[in-house]
Structures are given as C-alpha cells and as structure tokens.
Subunit: 332 residues, 2 copies
Amino acid sequence: MKTLAFSAATMALAFAPTVPAFAETPNEIVEGAPAGDWTEIPADDILIMTLAPDAAGKPREVVVQLFPAPWSSAWTHNIRALAKAHWWDGMSVYRSVDNWVVQWGEGDVETPKALPETMKLTSPEGYSLAWHKGLVDTLWSASGRRTAELRAKPRVASGSHFADPYAPAFGYVNGLPVASDLVTQGDISRPAAIWPVHCYASVGVARGLTPDAGNGAELYTVIGHAPRQLDRNIAVVGKIIAGIEHLSILPRGTGDAGVYETLAERTPIVSIRMAGELSESERPRFRVMNTDSDSFARWVEAKANRKDAFYSIPVGGADVCNLPVPVKPVTG
Amino acid sequence: MKTLAFSAATMALAFAPTVPAFAETPNEIVEGAPAGDWTEIPADDILIMTLAPDAAGKPREVVVQLFPAPWSSAWTHNIRALAKAHWWDGMSVYRSVDNWVVQWGEGDVETPKALPETMKLTSPEGYSLAWHKGLVDTLWSASGRRTAELRAKPRVASGSHFADPYAPAFGYVNGLPVASDLVTQGDISRPAAIWPVHCYASVGVARGLTPDAGNGAELYTVIGHAPRQLDRNIAVVGKIIAGIEHLSILPRGTGDAGVYETLAERTPIVSIRMAGELSESERPRFRVMNTDSDSFARWVEAKANRKDAFYSIPVGGADVCNLPVPVKPVTG
C-alpha cells in the first residue's frame, strides 16, 4: 500500500497552508491587510480579567471586548461600574459545561456582596434594538450582499450563500457579531430589530428565569458550537478577544448545571479591570478589522470558498459564527 | 434598585428548566421517549480510547461512534484494523488548538511504526457518497420537511427554518450528521451526493495536503464551532458520544499548528479498542434516538422553538450541529 507520511511539518502545512500557487488563504489576507483596514478598539470597551496563575505558575489574562452603546447598554454600564468598583476581585470562575459555557462572578453565596449604587435596572426589552442607521458597520443578507439597506432581490455576486437558520441577516458592530430580521417595503428591505448573537467566545449575562434579565455581575462565555437559541433570550455584552483558552480548558463541573462541587475546583479571579484603569504599559491594545473594508470582503469570500492547497471543494458559504472578525494586538 | 437573586439553584433552573406550565423542553422529550424510539449502537461501531489517568488519578475513557459502511468505509476499515492490532497503544494526544481540534495518534516520529497489512488505500473520492435509497435514516431540507425524497416545494409544517449555508439539506445515519446537495427533477428533489459533516465532537482523519486523504491512523475531534468548510475536504469517520471533556480540556499546544512542544505535555494513550474486543462487563453500550421517530421530530421542533420557562423568543430554526442526536447509556 501507499505509505502516508505524517509529521508535525505536514500537519502545520495541512492546517495553515501558504502555498503561493493556490488562492490566497484567509490568514494571508489578514496579514496583508493595510493599516487603514483596521481600527483600534477603544480602551473603554476593553475589560481585562486576571485569573490566579495556573498550576505551573503561568499568568492567565482574559480580554473581553464590550459592545459600545447603545448595544446591551444597561448591562455594559453595570459591568463598567462593577469593574471600576473592583467588585469581582477575589471571586471566581465557578461553572463549566462542555460544549456550552464557562461562568464567573460571585456565584452562590449566603450573603451577596453589595452592588455599586450606580447599577441600572435591566429588562428583556434590552436584548435587541430597534433599527436605525449607523447602528451597525455592515449587514449581510442570505445572498451575501453587504449593505445596511438591502434590496429585496439582491444580486448574488459570487455564488456564496450566507443563509442563517436563526435570522434573515447578520452583521457586525466594531467587529462584534449581530443578527437582524428584515422587513421589505417596495424593493428595499431593512431590519426592524437587530441583536447581538451567541458565537464561540461571546460573553453573556447569566440570569434566572424570565423575566429576570440579570444585572451583569455574573457572566459566561460560550465554549462550544454557537447556542444561537439563546439570542434575544439573554443579554450578550461582548466577546473574548484574547485568552479564552484559560477558560475553555478548565475542568468541567460535576455539580448541578456544571457548577463546581467544591471551592477548591474554582479558579480565583485576581481582578477584573477596565483597560483605561491600567497604566499604559500594562494596558493590552488590539485592532479589529473594519467589516466595511475591502480586506474583510475578500476575507469572507476566502473563508466561504477555500481554494488553497489543503482544500479541494470550496463549500460556498459560511455562518456568522464561522466568520469571527480578525483581531490583532497593537505592536511596537 | 431591584435585587437580583443569583444562586446555584436558579442557575440549575435557568439552564435545565422543568416547569410544567410551559412547553416541554428538549430534555423532557428525551427522558419521555419510549424504548421503541431508540436503537442500540452496534459494538462494531464503537471505539474506546483509554487515556492515562488524569493528575488526580481519575480514569479517562473516550467513546467514539463510527459511521457504518459504506460511509468513509476505507478509513473505518483501517481504524478497525488499527484498533484490533492494538496499534495506537502507547501513542499520545499530541495536538490541541482552541476552537478547532484535538488530535491523536503517532504524531511526528523519525521511524513510523509499521501499519497492519490489511490497511486499505484511501482517496478524496471517499469523502462523499453517491445517493441511493437507504443510505440515510432522515433528510431535512431548508424548510424542515423530513423525508428522503423531497418535493421541490415542500410544505413548511411549523414555520421553523433549517437553512444551512453549507448544504441544501442535512440528515442522519445512525444518529450521525450528514449533509447533501439536492437535484430537482419535476417536482421531486433528491440528493446526488451526500457526505458526513464536521460538528462539535465529530471525529476526522488528519492528513497532509490534497490529494493525500490520510489513512485513519491520525485522528482529530472538533472542540469548537463547527468548521463546516472542512466538509468534503477531509474524511469524517464518526463522533465522540462520551468522554469528549477528557480531550476538550487539554491545554492548548504552543508549537506550530498547536502541537505540544514537549513530550511531557502529551497525554498518553493506554489503549484504543473496538467495543467487541472488551468483555461484556467492560464494554460500554449506548442507545441513539431514531431520527425517523416521532420523539425526534418533536425534539427538533422543541430545539428550534424553545418555549419553556427560560425562553421568551423561540428562534424558529436550528442548524444540524445544534441538533446533536440524543444518545444515552444502556443501563441495567
């Protein structure tokens, strides 16, 4: 029989091919994207969670990008207030469920810690926004057309399809994924409602049964296939842009709903801070690709139609959670 | 302000509500499904990987359900031959990439171990099958119609939508997910090609660059959002039905393509066996829900339209990877 060579070198090629004879890869587009196709994420949208060092003594830092107002603004107001009050310091990551979520905050205690006085009330009405211009950077319909106001019968430029079983259209705000309905008037369609969605690494607000909407003090992140059934049923406040592996590799909890049964299993939170509170040297900085840039349009096409050396059959489509907008650290 | 109670008890409710005043939950349908709506997975389709005990000395067992022939049959033939030869014993889990895959087998060695003589050649042609009746148990079109031969304009029974940006239809064989194209003749549509898909916990065959199709000796599982762009570009041989958390929580590798940089970081494989080789007392047994049963149809509807106490807005759709067919251990 044919002998199949298998080595770390071929694996590296297999999963990140860079063979020039083939079409450009998504990674090559990211690497080649000009500076003008990126925007720095404002410090006021960046939350840094520092966990206790791991068993080997290595530091663990998780960086969350928050939605800008007016998205989920009651909850992000509260999250900023809690971070500024150092409210989470000394609390823990207390829950992990495989292919579902990892959750942190105060958890189950007899005497809850007092909340900052500036906390806002929240309600399920805040899960989605009424459409207005300027609310998103980009919106894609099922046909792949990229515009904020969609013709009812958009041209299909490339044959790619972006049908979403969960919503008629999806888009991005500061690189964070959102979805919308579509209402058609004449030959123009536009969204009536628009909402943040649950993808891998999305950060949401834990809550009790409806109509409780949570206050933002207990947060979770998605560590599996996108649980889109939660969209519009729970507040999404942002996305982890660095360090999610410090949460996704935590042992799964064996108590009810994946809560750790012993305090020893929890991971201590040293601190949660807004980036602006850190000194400039400590402050992590990131750029996100502009979703209305040519680089992003090419990246989406390449993601939906892989033609590089590893791929034989371009799949011809993608879902919003398989199109995580490229983010890179600011260097130098 | 309103004080929001938050406890492990409300969390348990929040994530597995069982309030009878509301619509039944997917879990309730699974619990209530009669014995006739389940089929035991044949021992010849079950592969058991035993890893070295974890740091606390706890045993770690990963159970894979393989596709039955003719699905990916050259690779599953090889996998059965490798397991029967005890070929993997003493090898390791050597690669982990967040939101991507965990991979195991021999990895990168100077002198590869001899393969069993009965190994079959593989080729990319085996990634999908030509359609014939009896190949799948169930097939769903974008409209949600459940049949193996689809009318071109199927009735939409429930308003749920199952559009898939990656394929015109999806279905199941022994509970394992597949997708297909659709060719229409008159008012009947049927698939021309049909193929296994990449969902969370799917098991695939690592390979080098195309046209290498891998032989089945190096395997991976998906530990993140479904990378459907790999469908038809790599062999999918089955799915992990128990113990995936032993793989998904492994530290991510820091070498090229997520390969562990040191041997000490690898997780030793004690053994990989076909279930039939184990004694009856050691042999894990599982039942999978029949996807042509009424229970499954109700479960899909409930998954796509959550109306239980936690949910306010039923999303009205689902994607194949968010519809993992229920599996339960055989007890008693």
